[in-house]
Amino acid sequence: MRTIVTRFAFLALALMLVISACSPAAPAATEPPAVSTAPAEPYVFGLLMVGPYNDHGYSQAHYEAGKYVEEKIGAKMVYIDKVNTADRPGTTPDQLAGDLVAQGAKLVIFSSDDMKDAATAFAKANPNIYVIMGSGDQVWKEAPNYEAIPNLSDIMGRMEYGKMIAGCAAALTTQTGQIGYLGPLINDETRRLAASAYLGAKHCWVAEGKNPADLKFKVTWVGFWFNIPGFTADPTQIVDDFFNSGYDVVMSGIDTTEAMVEAGKFAAEGKSVWAVPYDYEGACEVSPKICLGVPYFNWKPMYLEAITAASQGTFTSSFQWRGPDWSDLNNPDTTSVGFLKGEGLSAENSTKIDAFIADLAGGLNLWTGPIKLQDGSVYLADGVVATDPQVWFLPQLLEGMEGQSAAE
């Protein structure tokens, strides 16, 4: 009998908890969806990010650009991050884009290469919504899969320059002559960026009077843009393996900061190692001392332009692949890719980097022959300058680089 009484007492207590929990709480500190107190309705745009919005990498660079557009033209951003089937099982990017449209978005940015098919499908199914495909090439007339999609634009920065500068910094700094490159997955984009890093490294290595054959440059691929335990290779493990086998500089090609974190740990144990992060201008903050500098995307000006045009009804479909503002690499209003030096770069090497940047600004093009592919075949004959499609659709890594050129 007594146990029944205590049980009922417990149940009554639980009921009270429920009632108190269900009563209206203090107003939540969240903003109401797509409603503004401002007199004019702000233009709403949506952003889909493949990783967390605060990843100190690729996704955060997009997020900050969105914030910038909000500020500049009083628009409002709605976003959803971790848009990938491992983090959001059962969803597709076009479905999530629909959710952003339901929140009032008139334009949706699909920011990762991974979402290309979905962006195309979404743009076709929603002709009244503008679509920006970050890093895409669907509407590029030079692309083999070109399609005319009037409400879609491709936007990309010429990160090749950023990677060349970063590669140069790595080559100037390495003491063992071994540079590791942490690659994401294998595709056109990642091949050309790893290759650009190598071209920059080789250029500055040779400029020091060293033999290019003595420079080791190895690419190890993770399998995705960031670590997904159980699905991808572990970037932390790969970086550790690099540092434990004689590589003293690791360049990151992935969205997240494992290379920085691990380099910081090894340095704290007294090892002479450095890292070059990627994507996001604040990425050096993770381990400032060993950071040689970060090549980063600055999506701000291109997003501002496209979203402003969309809000004014003057959006036109185009393929944009824009380079740095050579007069000021780090001007947020004008440059599309930047390079921010890190504390790990010595004063002497910093001067050399400045000279290299000046050369690039002056017209030095490292994508000039002779360039051979990894299998030894000639890609660019002596003196031949690569066309844009030749750079964009690089079929293999280059001769002198170690690592897989295509998925096995």
């Binding site: 429920v18 269900c22 976003y79 969803t91 997955l185 294998i186 595709n187 699905f231 998925a407």
Partner: protein, 344 residues
Amino acid sequence: MKHTTLNRIGFQLFALLLAFGIASLVLLAVGASPVQIYKDMFGSLGTKGKIADVLVSWAPLLLATAGLLITFAAGLWNIGVEGQITFGAIGTTLVLRLLQNSAMNAGLIIALSIFAGMLAGALWAALAGALKTFGGVNEIFGGLGLNFVATALTIYLVFGPWKRPGTGSMSGTQPFPEQFNLPLFEGLRLSPWALVVAVVGIVFVYFLLQGTYFGLRLKAVGKNFRAAYLLGIPTWQYMMFSFLLCGALSGAAGALQVTAVYHRLIPSISSGYGYLGLMVAMLVNYQAIAAIPVAFFFAALNIGSIQLPIVHKLDSSFSGVLQGLLVLFILLAEGARQRLTPKA
């Protein structure tokens, strides 16, 4: 009789309140208003497109649940259902790849591929069943191990032999040409065929368990293995058969994921519907028809929870918290009811 039913409903309502109450406390702890959150989650489902999206998840979830009801009836914890969905998807992808360049009618190819998915799912389940029956490996451990193997195999295929030209990526294999996708309702992501397959699956299981001698004997095996054996029921054959049926239904879920949703093989093709299906099956307590609304509710929670990150900057895994709490409290309430209610 009537009294017991009322009593049961009372306890379950109480469990429902308790689950939502605790979930609300979790929300309050992170500074969100539970009322607002529930309103946004369920309010977002008011459009035709959203209901369709819920049904897109409902179909494979219901199929996995249907399969699990059979193994549950046989007293088996078929945790391997996740791998059976995955292997079904692999089977479907294989057949689509083999036949996509043939002169065969595309509709026939899709039908064959779905059938292949069911076969593959059954095969994978048979492995777990054989391990249990002949190897003495508990189906929970065998199934869990086979889940990992199925995922690893998918990753190998996506990055290896079935990779996109020049690319190896988590984003999956090259999407199949449009004629190999199950046709969709105009303007929606939902295929009527997916609904048909799911409904046929659950109705089949309903009649199997409620209306056949086989179902009765299967339940006997589940309730008391030894007694069933002594009564002359071929127990291990029944267990194996329940694995096969569950595998076939889960395989159909995987086949739908390929032919109706993703149109390609992706590493996380099962989308967790197997584990979610286990929860639905536990909640409905062998009642196949009850699985229809409960699976719909769970799918709705999944789809509605997308509002959390968008509107409230909260993680959408809250839907998982709520689903887990629901299962926990409904089971608890059932236990409490049995202990608190005086035996008639």
